[in-house]
Assembly symmetry: C2
Homo-oligomer: 354 residues x 2
DNA sequence: TTGTAAGCGTTATCAC
DNA sequence: GTGATAACGCTTACAA
């Protein structure tokens, strides 16, 4: 029943297949009467034009591929990617495109991935990557596949991207800790290969220097974004002769891990140690105590990147194609009492904790 | 440079396009010498056949669509779906297919979704749904789109599915609590529209009855799978004249919410109240105390469902097409000391908590 | 406003 | 082992 072609519909509606095609594509020059008759037949038989044939002739698929870092095993479980995906998906539906993400790319050789990309399944790509020297943007450019990037590598030459000012964000987080009176502030970094990490580190350094605080290499740990590495980093800090009184973690998951380590030592947050995260994933509101963190507007970043891509695909040129979003320090309970004028956006979402 | 067609490659390699096609598809009857020459040209120019043209002529896309419940806003953040997706993706790569999930389906009218499905983007669908009377399976059957379902509705007539024995799983969880001496055991259910919920509830009832314990309607709360609803349910229980000493939550997120409520009352887990979850998402090991829960083999369910689907697509018939996976009670810290012979699988993953 | 016909880039069926 | 040639199911000039 659903194997019908446009030809069959044409016959049933007593018109030519061009007319059916016009009806399908909302072409104006079809007599209303005919249009209705054709639609009737289409609906009656549950006909939908076959994507492949359409793609072949138009040379466009109206499909947008979303590429997350392949290294990330459980990428789907990462709420950061979920929010980005949410934004991408919304913009796509709004503009009449379909956003697709393909599973199992991590199990695939790079060659196969590249081939998949080259087969023109997608009109364009939203690339989520803050990896420095990521081969993907180079490949996409060489293969002339339009893309916009979420995150960017200053040493690459991404033409279109959205990102945040990581340096300023980290600076804001650390300054908050300083304003609360902390003098020994540790940092848990992410993988060095991510371009955002040196930036966040420099924000951390700048805040310390501005406050005239010493920079102690012992207070720097390198994590891998995962809970476990945050825990390990914190355990390391707690064994120091002079442990920190506050920690800035480069993402929320590692912050949660750090909190875990703190509890295991029988210490309290924020009384003994204050902690600031990064990202503002939904779980931060559920952790006890609720995590003070830097909010990145992931969803908007996803939709903006997608909008830029679609604009480009549709030839709407002369648009800005590099956007830096601003971050927000969201103050919850993990640093103790408020004593500064940091913005309080997000506070209304906080579940009160006894 | 990448706009080349098979025709161009043929010309450059001094062969016909049939030969290039044969090379591309590993057809045996090509002289090795010719084969190498053609491959050389292909690689040199970064040529890859255009998917649409291929799909049109073969009438197959080797693409498999994964459909998660549309109601789920942040579906991607749900680690259950992440694990399922992992399994689907792995099996697809193994069998030479590509698994795709499309974003923004939630913002889309059902009509549009159906049309998308009918356009034969996908050779088949892995449908993740335990919703009762879900319209999707009916649509897929009517549209003759092959699918396998993860979860199943006994009142529907899904031909191919994988699922778990929810009744037995819930029974196991509650029995564990009983074996630890609990007499007042509450349950936090999920949405009534999910077929697994009545099953889990009946497992709960059976365990209580077998132990000769009374069934108290006050000890039943209905949640919506989310953290907040687990918290609300627990708050309700804690206000009762005779609060429960143990809770069985129908998923891990609500269990975490319940723990939140318990802490807010200044109570302790497991000393004051014991708690068992369901699913065994990775976070259960990170919660404090680590959550005792029922493990569902999500990843295997995903890969099995996919294997069944692909077998069917490839005409490998006579296979079993309905598989019930077994669940495991994973004992961690949220119920206190072990006193029974429940299987200990998963214990090795547990981070010790002071 | 509608129909005819060409063509999109492949694979597959034939001959040779 | 290789090369013409005919589909595949659409969209889109161009005619009528």
């Amino acid at each position: 029943m659903s194997q019908l072609t446009i030809e069959d519909i044409a016959r049933l509606a007593h018109v030519s297949r061009s007319t059916v095609s016009r009806v399908l594509n909302d072409h104006p020059s079809v007599r209303p009467e005919v249009r209705d008759r054709v639609w009737g037949v289409i609906k009656e038989h549950g006909y939908a034009p076959q994507a492949a044939a359409r793609h072949l002739v138009t040379q466009r698929t109206r499909l947008i591929g979303v590429l997350f870092p392949r290294s990330n095993q459980y990428l789907l479980a990462n709420p950061v990617y979920a929010s980005i995906g949410q934004g991408v998906g919304q913009m796509c539906t709004r503009r009449g495109y379909l956003a697709m993400i393909s599973l199992g790319l991590g199990d695939m050789e790079e060659k196969m991935l590249f081939n998949m990309l080259r087969s023109r399944h997608f009109d364009g790509i939203v690339l989520v990557s803050s990896e420095s020297h990521d081969p993907l943007p180079f490949f996409l450019k060489e293969a002339r596949i339009p893309y916009t990037r979420i995150g960017h590598d200053p040493e690459g030459d991404d033409e279109a991207f959205v990102d945040v000012d990581d340096t300023e964000a980290a600076y804001k987080a650390v300054k908050h800790l300083i304003s609360l009176g902390h003098q020994r502030i540790a940092i848990i970094k992410g993988p060095a290969a991510e371009v955002c990490i040196p930036r966040r580190y420099s924000g951390y350094i700048r805040a310390l220097q501005e406050a005239g605080l010493p920079i102690d290499p012992l207070l720097v740990a390198e994590g891998d974004w995962l809970h476990t590495s945050g825990k390990a980093g914190m355990e390391h800090f707690l064994q120091l002769e002079h442990p920190p009184t506050a920690v800035f973690s480069c993402n929320d998951m590692m912050a949660a891990g750090a909190m875990h380590a703190i509890y295991e030592q029988g210490l309290h947050i924020p009384e003994d140690i204050a902690i600031v995260g990064f990202d503002d994933v939904p779980q931060t509101q559920v952790i006890i105590p609720a995590l003070t963190t830097i909010r990145q507007p992931h969803e908007e970043m996803g939709s903006k990147a997608t909008e830029m891509l679609i604009d480009r695909l549709e030839g709407k040129d002369g648009q800005i194609n590099q956007v830096i979003f601003s971050t927000t320090l969201v103050i919850r309970q993990s640093c103790g009492a408020l004593r500064n004028d940091a913005t309080r956006e997000g506070l209304q979402h906080i579940a009160p904790i006894a």
